[in-house]
């Protein structure tokens, strides 16, 4: 693995765009991608002619009900007569799209890349969650009729058992993120709730209850990522991609300790080494850990080495991760508050850090000064960790 990576041409994010996150959208998937990508280009002051490569991220085709979905989203993502690939690491795709865009630019092949994440879950009937019946091993697991929440519940239970975290401790994440989301115009389920509301919500798969889970969402988000010299011409506050990391564990999640995401830890080390970060818990100013479930934010804070294993829920109680705290996490409102259109959710989180590092997050702007940020996405069967480190 290459360690002291000398890249003559640094890579920057210069624009971000996002659609509102909705339970049901009128737009078709390609129109959602178009709306987000066009906003990102407008924000960067560029047009489609300036784009020379496109990277698309979208999770299971079985949601939108369109096979070869990368091809279906191509024109919506601006890839008409352009090099385009769709990258795919399950739920980790959202952060992986800008990670892949990094080597499109750093290799010298592309100068300006449109990185687009889209997900439309509402077409699947009777319920989008039914799609998750098909993520399992067809022979060993599917006969047990598993649904997705089972695997999260098992991981949450293991985290609670190993780290001594109670449900009321974990519910604070949902309270924090849904409150943060009140200031996010894209939010689908922002709300002022209390720990009691979480503990009284419908029990889906104990210990997971309704308000522990992010919603099903239609939405898209996009970033414009360019080389250093293009960035210098386009904006006076580019946000540099300083570290990228990604790791996939094997698919046998039933053969590993679920309390600690080792795959995410390896991905984080890869990204931190590239960014020259030795003590992330000190050097990272703001973070967007992936939070499809409330316990998962704590799980990922520990995987990202922003807190020691089993310590995150204690710091949470002290307000350490609040917007005015020592290390704000999910100032965007996260998946729990803004929504979870799988592949677009990760791009939304990177977009949030883009706005935070440019002090353009408005009411969501964290109080402390920010120089270095980290976002991660998680995916597959408890096996994919994707990490990006940004700096201004």
């Amino acid at each position: 693995m290459v360690t002291n990576l000398f890249v003559k041409d640094r890579v920057a994010i210069v624009g971000a765009g996002i659609t509102t996150f909705m339970r049901r959208a009128l737009e078709t998937p390609r129109e959602l991608a178009w709306e987000a990508a066009r906003m990102a280009l407008d924000q960067a002051g560029l047009t489609l002619k300036d784009v020379d490569c496109v990277v698309i991220g979208s999770a299971p085709d079985t949601f939108d009900g369109v096979h070869l979905k990368g091809e279906y989203l191509a024109d919506g993502s601006g890839a008409i007569r352009k090099p385009m690939t769709r990258v795919y690491v399950g739920g980790g795709t959202g952060v992986f799209v800008p990670v892949s865009a990094w080597w499109h630019v750093a290799s010298g092949l592309c100068k300006t890349v449109l990185a687009v994440g889209e997900e439309k879950m509402s077409p699947a009937h009777p319920h989008p969650q039914y799609v998750f019946r098909y993520i399992w091993d067809p022979i060993i697991h599917r006969p047990l009729e598993p649904n997705l929440i089972w695997i999260f519940a098992m991981e949450m239970r293991r985290y609670m058992a190993k780290c001594g975290a109670k449900k009321e401790d974990i519910a604070l994440v949902s309270v924090k993120n849904k409150r943060n989301a009140l200031d996010n115009p894209a939010a689908q389920v922002a709300a002022n709730i209390t720990v009691d509301d979480v503990l009284k919500s419908e029990v889906l798969v104990w210990p997971v209850q309704e308000l522990d889970v992010s919603p099903v969402t239609d939405g898209a988000a996009a970033l414009v990522i360019t080389s250093e010299n293009v960035a210098r011409q386009v904006t006076d506050s580019p946000v540099w991609i300083e570290g990228v990391g990604f790791t996939l564990d094997n698919q046998h999640w039933e053969n590993r300790e679920l309390a600690f995401p080792r795959y995410l830890n390896y991905a984080a080390r890869m990204a931190y080494r590239m960014a020259g970060i030795e003590r992330p818990w000190k050097e990272i100013d703001v973070a967007e850990p992936y939070d499809p479930f409330d316990y998962k934010e704590l799980h990922h804070i520990e995987g990202l080495m922003l807190a020691r294993p089993c310590e995150a829920w204690k710091l949470l109680k002290e307000g350490y991760f609040n917007r005015d705290g020592e290390l704000p996490t999910s100032p965007s409102g996260g998946l729990l508050g803004v929504g979870n259109p799988i592949a677009a959710a990760g791009v939304m989180k990177v977009a949030e850090l883009f706005w935070q590092l440019r002090y353009e997050a408005g009411k969501r702007q964290v109080k402390r000064p920010v120089h270095r940020a980290v976002a991660n996405a998680w995916g597959d069967l408890m096996q994919a960790g994707t990490v990006i480190v940004l700096g201004n």
Partner: protein
């Protein structure tokens, strides 16, 4: 000079109409196991990044990248999936190495069409659900029929020329152990067959076969540590003309994505002069017979509307000035879904290493590889290779 990228190992398994004896992950293990032996690398220590190419609905699994890392040695290592043809995965490997993030990258692609019971319905699921899929068209390959008719109308190529491509490739395939659909086919055999999708007979449409192909790429310095029989990847290009939700914007009878991909690849390879003299062989797209002629024109290996004339003169035969698809192409080897591009690349690499066997093109030093992702996409990829 930016870092040169070389192919240091190839491995494959399958190329048969069905492979019931292996689980799809077993097939991936077989091809990667052979590729790592060929490159004499240890995947658990020497390979930095693993790229896999597959699509959910070809595999029957909703997040199919979950099953990628284990069999190819990528467990707990940087692994990701490109939802596209294997050649797009090679493009990512090229970028990973040029950017310095990785020195050695493994790319695997596979297809097990024999396990898809409702292949036609899965094809239709890729069609625009609003404006095209609802139409009672009867066969998803009607899109290829429209392009074939438009191509023949524009260039004057006739049904005999299409038959000549099919006969050439299926006969070439007789010499290639990876070509289950080869046959001593004559033009008359093809002309006497009824149309399946006008103007294509069943001989003009490649069948499907199961296969997994793994390719190991490395930077110039890293390559020296492992092998001395390197095939250089001088250029790679890929492009998309329009989305499958806007096929109505497609330039019928053309494959502009292959022209754009070729221009990108030739620029990277520094091919200033006219490309037609630059190559000793070409492995190009032929899952529909007319596509070989159209590909040659989009790759500028023949002037527009001239490919079928050169074909008549035997210019593309095995002994001719520019052998095209000496391996038999997809018409003889079959279509392996997302591994089809790597099948073309595999054949070209073996030719440049002088290891092709009976269908070896003597003294082959430079080759071009081109693939299209098939109906209903308009995405192509092109690679330019040269012997080490």
């Amino acid at each position: 000079m930016p870092r040169r990228v070389g192919i240091i190992g190839v491995g494959w398994y399958g190329f048969r109409p069905s492979t019931p004896e292996v689980h799809f992950q077993g097939m991936m293990f077989e091809s990667s196991h052979r590729a790592y032996a060929d490159a004499n690398v240890d995947p658990r220590k020497d390979v930095d990044v693993f790229v896999d190419c597959q699509e959910d609905l070809w595999e029957g699994i909703a997040i199919t990248d979950e099953f990628a890392p284990e069999p190819i040695g990528g467990a707990l290592r940087p692994t990701f999936t490109v939802s596209g043809d294997g050649l797009l995965g090679v493009a990512h490997a090229y970028m990973l190495i040029r950017s310095g993030l990785a020195d050695v990258v493994a790319v695997e692609a596979h297809g097990k069409p024999s396990e898809i019971r409702t292949l036609q319905d899965v094809y239709y699921m890729a069609f625009d659900p609003l404006h095209v899929r609802p139409l009672p068209t009867g066969n998803p390959f009607f899109l290829a029929g429209l392009d074939a008719q438009a191509y023949m109308q524009r260039t004057g190529a006739s049904r005999e020329h299409l038959a000549l491509v099919s006969a050439k490739n299926r006969t070439n395939g007789l010499k290639n152990e990876r070509a289950p659909y080869s046959a001593r086919l004559t033009v008359d055999d093809v002309l006497s067959a009824p149309y399946a999708v006008y103007p294509l007979t069943r001989y003009d449409i490649a069948d499907f076969s199961d296969a997994s192909v793994t390719v190991v790429l490395a930077s110039e310095e890293a390559a020296k540590r492992f092998t001395d029989k390197v095939v250089w990847l001088d250029g790679i290009g890929f492009s998309t003309e329009t989305g499958s939700g806007a096929v109505e914007w497609h330039a019928w009878g053309r494959m502009l994505s292959m022209r754009d991909a070729a221009l990108m690849a030739y620029k990277l390879a520094g091919l200033a002069g006219s490309p037609s003299e630059s190559f000793d062989l070409a492995e190009v797209e032929d899952r529909f017979s007319f596509m070989e002629l159209l590909s040659l024109e989009e790759l500028m290996l023949a002037k527009e509307g001239e490919a079928h004339r050169l074909l008549e003169q035997g210019h593309f035969n095995l002994g001719g000035p520019l052998p095209v698809n000496p391996s038999g192409g997809s018409l003889a080897m079959g279509v392996q879904l997302e591994a089809t591009g790597l099948a073309r690349l595999l054949e070209a690499v073996l030719q440049l290493r002088g290891e092709a066997g009976p269908h070896q093109v003597k003294g082959a030093r430079k080759a071009v590889v081109a693939t299209w992702r098939g109906v209903p996409t308009y995405t192509s990829a092109v690679a330019v290779l040269s012997a080490g």
